[in-house]
């Protein structure tokens, strides 16, 4: 319940006695009446008999009325203020105001020529204007990490306002839980009147989980957001394939959001090296996000930067999403086999499948080595390995392979050797946490034809490795026959991509670390299956190879204010040049950590960063957060309530509210009007009484 405070409290004590003047006069009148010697009291007695019985009551009513008038008069002189917003003001006590200013992306929503950020600065200046000489104030620039403008609360309001005006808007999220925690830690063990003002648009992503712990002060919310806002945003964009080769189709999967109550049809443009290469119109239903794949080609190898954009709206930063594309000319594929390279060996068929044109004409350049030749040097620049007919893994070789896969390398392991069952057991033993989806036992030899040839029965055709057999192409699988294979059983159906007609696994995949291992329980040797003779074979091998690419290496996408480390050798680093999206060269100071061979860059701008190293250029696409794109605020009435007055939610706005927090709601004019009304009532009442006597 609200209570009253008085600016001139001493007036209450000083003037309170005058309230009783009417009753004192009444009593004195009774005690010391005028003495009038009158000719005859005969007619006075007669008049008294005619007097209304209510007169005495009226008399007391009149006294009460007059007391009330004086009471109001005393109140007016005492300048009463009604305590509002749950403020527990104590006269003359020092205040400490901590203002948590939302500096997230959604505060840049510019509608009507003003952003919530600018509105917030205006409101904060109004709040600061209520601080008197001894009051302490501080402003916390609330981004992903709260940063106070002053290390300690200050009385220097002018300096603080100057810093506030110089504050640059940030296009990231805001962590209000951390900001509130900072404020409460700052308040600890202080006896001032503690007030936290939160100036924000209360965007729902930011405010969904914010809690207000108990503290012996007040928290006030200042909403500066747009009441009805709508926004379209590109939430994300990624390349489906990690390693892109020239002239291969590039699939860009973009997530686009419509945060409005209307259906929107908008053009989406894709730019590569600032040249528009694709424009497509899409329709977005209200309050939805859709995923859309855009396909395009790039004919030359190289480092490209791209952007996907939609028309500008009130929040421009999330209308454009930057990415990079690294197109390679050719990719070296390692084939490990311990058999001689002749026309009967599977490696021969794999080479033919990977590079059907011979020499350097295809995208893939296969290179055959034996298991004993496997070393970190042989793995340099290799992302994909094919294994067929190898000897048992030595621990050393197995460790090389494990590191290769952990770092994002991919392996296609044909289970066509004599010791593959043992090798798989070793892999399961040495590769921590690797549980194969299938187990194999003994090998079925082609000489034991009693079992007959196996065919594929069923498979997971959503897998990118089997996509070429989608729909009408599925029939091609039925022509494939396999004579030699390992007897196998399923451990985990999730990883099995293809089954033989006896329900044993024929193709299964394991993800390990950053890489993948695809186990093929068959051989491509023409004596052990007919696959190599089939026209689907090279296409399938090429498709498998392409889909082995790890997506993380395809594009360099970062979020604004993130840091990234770029590796080079220290000699080259000295000569490196880093260009921000606006073309400015980042000075050494911008390089946060400068350890030999590595540079750390903190991205402060949205767009494409260029890291120019001698003979090499790296690109990085920097984008704003998408957590702020839905600019709707939380239900303001569900904001965390003041813990010491749980019924109070202090939504405040404007100078009058801020002054009311400080001094309470001034009641002077209400009292003055009431006083006039009471006086008018008193006159009316007297007139009425006169008429009735």
């Amino acid at each position: 319940m609200s209570s009253l405070t008085f600016s001139n409290f001493f007036f209450i004590g000083l003037l309170a006695p005058i309230i009783f003047i009417p009753i004192v006069i009444h009593l004195l009148n009774k005690k010391f009446p005028d003495v009038i010697h009158f000719s005859s009291i005969h007619f006075i007695k007669a008049a008294l008999r005619r007097k209304s019985r209510l007169f005495k009551l009226r008399d007391w009513l009149m006294i009460l009325l007059r007391m009330l008038i004086l009471c109001f008069l005393v109140f007016i002189f005492s300048k009463p203020n009604l305590e509002v917003f749950g403020s527990s003001k104590i006269i003359n006590k020092k205040r400490e105001l901590i203002i948590l200013f939302d500096n997230s992306l959604s505060m840049q929503y510019e509608k009507g020529g003003i952003t919530p950020f600018k509105k917030g600065i205006i409101e904060i200046e109004k709040i600061l204007s209520t601080a008197t000489g001894s009051d302490l104030v501080n402003i916390v620039n609330t981004g992903p990490v709260p940063i106070p403008l002053e290390s300690e609360s200050t009385v220097q309001i002018t300096t603080l306002i100057s810093r506030l005006r110089n504050l640059k808007p940030r296009e990231s999220t805001a962590d209000f839980s951390a900001a509130i925690a900072w404020a409460l830690a700052h308040f600890q063990s202080k006896s001032n009147l503690k007030e936290i003002y939160i100036v924000s648009d209360f965007q729902r992503q930011t405010w969904g989980k914010v809690k207000l712990p108990h503290f012996d002060g007040q928290c006030f919310y200042v909403n500066v957001g747009s009441a009805q806002g709508e926004n379209l945003a590109i939430m994300n964009a990624s390349l489906e394939n990690s390693l892109l080769l020239k002239d291969e189709p590039i699939n860009l999967e973009a997530t686009i959001g419509n945060f409005s109550e209307k259906e929107k049809t908008i053009p989406v443009s894709i730019l590569v090296n600032d040249i528009k290469i694709l424009s497509q119109e899409i329709t977005l239903t209200p309050w939805s996000t859709i995923q859309k794949t855009f396909t395009f080609h790039i004919k030359k190898a190289g480092n490209y930067h791209g952007a996907i954009s939609i028309p500008d709206d009130y929040l421009k930063a999330d209308n454009r999403f930057y990415f990079t594309i690294n197109i390679k000319d050719k990719e070296k594929i390692l084939i490990i086999t311990d058999e001689e390279n002749n026309a009967e060996n599977p490696a021969f068929f794999l080479i033919k499948a990977l590079n059907p044109y011979g020499q350097n004409e295809g995208n893939y350049l296969p290179e055959v080595i034996s298991l004993s030749a496997l070393s970190p040097i042989s793995l340099t620049g290799i992302a994909k390995i094919f294994i067929s007919r190898i000897e048992q893994f030595s621990p050393e070789k197995l460790m090389f392979l494990k590191q290769f896969i952990l770092n994002g390398g991919s392996v296609v392991y044909f289970l066509d050797g004599k010791v593959d069952a043992e090798n798989l057991i070793k892999m399961e033993g040495d590769f921590e946490n690797l549980k194969l989806s299938a187990r194999i036992s003994t090998k079925q030899n082609a000489s034991k034809q009693g079992f007959g040839a196996r065919k594929f029965l069923k498979g997971d055709f959503n897998s990118p490795f089997l996509k070429i057999f989608d729909g009408a192409h599925r029939e091609k699988l039925s022509h494939l026959k396999f004579y030699e294979y390992y007897f196998s059983a399923t451990n985990n159906e999730k990883g099995v991509l293809l089954y033989y007609d006896d329900n044993s696994p024929a193709l299964f995949m394991e993800a390990y670390g950053q890489g993948k291992i695809l186990f093929c329980n068959f051989s491509v040797n023409e004596l052990e299956s007919n696959i190599a003779r089939h026209d689907v074979f090279p296409v399938w091998i090429q498709e498998i190879t392409r889909n082995l690419t790890n997506s993380q290496t395809a594009t360099q996408i970062y979020e604004l204010y993130q840091s990234a480390i770029f590796s080079t050798d220290s000699a080259k680093l000295v000569k490196s040049k880093i260009l921000a999206p606006d073309g400015t060269v980042l000075t050494d100071k911008s390089i946060v950590s400068n350890t030999p061979g590595k540079i750390r860059i903190k991205f402060e701008q949205q767009g494409i960063y260029r890291i120019e190293l001698p003979h090499k250029e790296e690109l990085a696409g920097v984008n704003v957060t998408t957590l702020e794109s839905d600019i709707r605020s939380v239900d303001l009435h569900r904001l965390p309530k003041s813990s010491n007055k749980p019924e109070t939610l202090n939504l405040v706005s404007g100078a009058s509210d801020y002054n009311a927090i400080k001094e309470g709601l001034p009641l002077f004019h209400y009292l003055a009007i009431s006083l006039l009304m009471l006086m008018a009532f008193e006159v009316g009442f007297q007139w009425y009484c006169k008429g009735k006597t």
Partner: protein, 301 residues
Amino acid sequence: MQKSELLNPEELAVFEDLLIFAKTTVQGFYSGKHRSPWFGESAEFMDYKEYYPGADASKIDWKIYRKTGRLYFKLFAEETDMPVYLIVDKSRSMIYSKDKELSKYSLAIKIAAALTHLLIQQGDKVSLTLFDKKISSHTASGGTKNHATKLIRDLAKSKPMNRTDINNAIDECVWLFKKRGKVVIISDFMDWNENLFDSLSKFLHRNHEVLLIHVLNDNELALPTSGMANFIDLETAETIQVNVEEIRENYQKELKKFTDNLAFEATNRRIDYFLVNPINPYINALESFLTFHTKSKNRKS
């Protein structure tokens, strides 16, 4: 002169004031008017006046007609032997005065003095009776200037003292006033009751003509300005505490009812009633008397 007739200095001052007041008031009253307000058939010839149609033809002086051929009738100063009985209330209620202004009693004796002077000057006989609960003094009628002086001295000497019993006083007066005359009672009539007019009727039965001059103060008409007040009755010493503002309106109604009733009862009995206007009380009182006098003459004729 007897010792009892001697005036003390204060009374003497009052007497001189009254005397001067009576003379100046009457002179002032007549200034610019006809010398004598009434004309009759007394032996003292005053003037001739040409006859005008409608005038009393019996009063034509035929001797003049014979000599001049024109019709004149003689005008005489009136001479009557009807005495005027002035009865003045000197009860304690007459002491009341508004603040430090003239008391009602002072007003009453001034009116009485002025009437005395007027009547003696006109050749009438005047008697003076002062009463409270009974007659306290009575001076028989006389028409000389010395008599007038005596009456005024009596008035100056008198002091209101006791309660009123106007009925008793009137009853006593009825037996005192042997000769038919004009009875003028100057009082506040605060002791009024239903029997008053029964008593006054006795005057009427004896062919007296009666004029009631009602003297009231401003404050008695509207109550004094005050809040809570203790009213003490000047006659009975009874006390009552009231909030003046509370009862003022009712009081005024009661008092108006009283004066209206008095006037109504008087009219019913062919008694003249006059409530003295506090603004110009003496001239009003003299005028009321002259009106009363004229009316009585008309009634007689």
